[in-house]
Amino acid sequence: MSITPPSQKIWWNQPIDKIEAAWIGLALVWCLVLFLWMPYWHVFGKQNLSSESYKTTPAAFEKKTNEMISKYTVRKEVNGQMPVVAPPPGSNVYLAASKWAWNPILELKKGQSYRLHISSLDWQHGFSLQPVNMNLQILPGYETVITLTPTQTGEFGVVCNEFCGIGHHAMLGKIYVKD
């Protein structure tokens, strides 16, 4: 029994039960499929997180964000408080997370690629693009860079999905995608 010592001293030479052997084989094959799927998706899939990221500081990142905002702001929303930025396709786009806002609002073009840089100016945050449902971890001191190509038009919410203090539930940003 399982709660008493094994019935044979040399238990490691006992033959393996047939169905156990068959199951181990099947399970191992499936685990290998799962493993190979990841490199496969890197080659053939269109949704891969790049490893491109840099050490940064909140001040340096804020500065670059503000430079982009002053260059490409097209209008202001939310009672004239929040800049809406429409950077040209292919350019570097900055999105700064801080308690408890995403700055600025972005306006992108469908089918065009952007180098999106995201970082936090204070605590950890979560970039969650909704309702697309794409989720990234955002850390202070680290600048994530992804080449992003929106495939739909419309108005998208950027929810923070990493707990970042008491105002966390109000931390909402926006991305517009136009044709």
Partner: protein, 576 residues
């Protein structure tokens, strides 16, 4: 060996050394106390997440969520596990425990730590969740409590190893240690590695919160913290699988199909689970793709393989034992005729099914590098770990409690009718909670979020109506599960206080109120624990065809669900 320091349970045949027995009792009782506290706050969290109720304020919600997570995931589970370690060493090997006085020191440290950390939550400035990600600060006493608790648990682990050494030296058993003790040893080794990880990160974090260290890198924190946070869940997996084998033996007299396979699977846990914690960092910056793929491939999948093996061998051993008793009609007579109104069995079997089918499959899917993009930090994640921990581990511990109350505490169970339905109530409620959480997470609903309607936000966003409905349904499931949890606390605590005291000769199984297998553990040679008689299962063809059929259903579900998620991933915006 002083004969009078042991007590033999008249019906199970198990031997309890008096000093180990008191340690087991103390740890088990504290476990239930923290289950009760954590459970009450879990209910409050859920009642807040139900859109129609939205009970607590934001401050109180995040505090309640921090208490729920920490008191259940750490304090309830590890107190119980230390009790399991004393049982699997001292009782199963029938040996005196190593240094019981030191065991009490460990217990006091664990108690001091758990109380300190819980109190720090109530002070209101440490609502940092179970993960306590820097640079979000908690009060120093929050970290201090966790460190004290970990040191106490470490003492328990080393005493377990010490007890194994004594048993070996005093030759209290023949051959190798029992499989259940081997599983507990796996849990103990993983626990030691885990606690070391915890010390590496929590001690500097304590110093940081006190102002002695200027900064802790958030990525370094996350990487090491998950060596603690994820591996600690692997202690649970090892412990719960060990208990599954124990219950199979106790209720059915089952023996492992082959010792080699089951022990090999436990070994895989030790070798490959530590690095698998990398799957929490799949969408983090600063880590390379190859590092992520490497650590979630060989490491995770070999651990997954281990769980898939146990998933076959535990029910397989039950099937073999049942077929020996004559339940040989068709594929499933052995299962239909199992004692479904015995909560020791029903709790364990429900835990195993929900752990495997839901916890296991969702865990692998979200641990796949790219698919993690659609799951990370959504409410899918707590959906997953309520299947693994709240059902897998917690329900397993509940099931073995129904065995321990009469055997260890020598009390008759109160409310036996309620005990019969308790596993179904808890598992059913949890199942509903889990499925709707998984669904809402798939639609993007975030975890750890007070108000998904964003009523306080300056901008507007609305989740799909289905997602909001699902949160409400999850809450209904959660209320049922909370009733199941309350029933457990009532029966466990009530039996200890009001249950009829069983005298030393009373037969357990007549007083127990449920049909159970004949005394499982009959050895008439008190000085030395003999090997079980030789009867080989290995050569019998198709000894467990029903289990194999179930395993194939499981594999098919796994494959289908994985590719559904891959399809969903392919609909996302393009990214590279």
């Amino acid at each position: 060996m002083a004969g009078n320091s042991f007590r033999q349970c008249p019906s199970s045949g198990l031997y309890f050394h008096r000093s180990a027995e008191s340690l087991m009792k103390a740890h088990a009782v504290m476990a239930v106390v923290f289950f009760l506290i954590g459970g009450i706050f879990g209910l409050l969290v859920m009642l807040t997440r139900m859109p129609s109720v939205h009970l607590l304020s934001a401050e109180a919600f995040y505090m309640a969520l921090s208490i729920h997570g920490t008191d259940i995931l750490i304090f309830w589970i590890i107190f119980f596990e230390i009790a399991v370690l004393y049982f699997a060493s001292s009782t199963l090997l029938r040996v005196r425990p190593a240094m019981p006085q030191l065991g009490w020191l460990g217990f006091i440290l664990m108690l001091a730590g758990s109380v300190t950390t819980t109190l720090s939550f109530f002070r209101g400035n440490s609502s940092v969740m179970f993960t306590s990600y820097v640079p979000m600060p908690a009060e120093p006493i929050f970290y201090l409590g966790l460190i004290l608790f970990a040191v106490g648990a470490l003492v328990g682990c080393f005493l377990f190893l010490g007890t194994l050494v004594i048993a070996k030296r005093e030759k209290t058993y023949e051959g190798s240690i029992p499989l259940v003790t081997f599983g507990a040893l796996t849990a103990c080794i993983i626990a030691i590695l885990t606690i070391v990880m915890g010390a590496i990160i929590l001690i500097p974090t304590l110093l940081w919160s006190m102002g002695y260290i200027a900064e802790i890198d958030p990525l370094v924190y996350r990487t090491i913290w998950w060596g603690l946070g994820h591996s600690s869940q692997q202690i649970n997996v090892s412990a719960q699988v060990a208990i599954w084998y124990a219950i199979a033996a106790i209720v059915f007299g089952a023996k492992p199909m082959s010792e080699k396979v089951s022990r090999g699977a436990f070994l895989l846990y030790i070798l490959f689970l530590q690095l698998a914690s990398a799957h929490h960092l799949l969408v983090d910056p600063g880590l390379s793709t190859s590092w992520k793929v490497f650590n979630t491939s060989y490491a995770m999948y070999l651990a997954v393989l281990a769980s898939m093996v146990h998933g076959l061998t535990v029910p397989g051993s039950i099937e073999v034992a049942q077929r020996k008793k004559g339940f040989t009609n068709g594929l499933f007579e052995w299962l239909r005729k199992a004692p479904w109104d015995n909560p020791v069995f029903s709790g364990m079997f429900l835990a195993m099914i929900i752990f495997g089918f839901i916890g296991g499959i969702t865990g692998v899917v979200m641990g796949t590098e790219q698919i993690n993009l659609i799951i990370h930090n959504t409410i899918f994640v707590p959906g997953h770990f309520h299947a693994t921990v709240a059902v897998g581990t917690t329900l397993t511990f509940m099931a073995i409690t129904y065995f321990l109350i009469p055997v260890l505490f020598r009390r008759e169970l109160i409310l036996p009718k309620l005990a019969k339905i308790q596993p179904y109530l808890f598992a059913g409620g949890m199942l509903m909670l889990i499925l709707f959480m998984l669904g809402a997470g798939t639609l993007g609903v975030p975890r750890r979020h007070w108000d998904v309607s964003f009523s306080d936000a300056v901008m507007k966003f609305q989740f799909a109506g289905t997602a909001i409905t699902m949160l409400g349904m999850a809450g209904v499931g959660g209320i049922l599960a909370a009733l199941g949890g309350a029933a457990y606390c009532l029966i466990a605590v009530g039996s200890l206080v009001f249950g009829k005291r069983l005298d030393d000769n009373a037969s357990l199984f007549s007083s127990f109120g449920f049909p159970m297998a004949a005394p499982a553990y009959k050895v008439d040679q008190p000085d030395r624990l003999a090997m079980t008689p030789v009867e080989s299962h290995g050569s019998e063809p198709h000894a467990a065809p029903g289990t194999f059929a179930l395993a194939l259903v499981f594999l098919a579900t796994f494959v289908v669900y994985f590719f559904i998620n891959a399809k969903y991933l392919s609909s996302l915006w393009h990214m590279s």
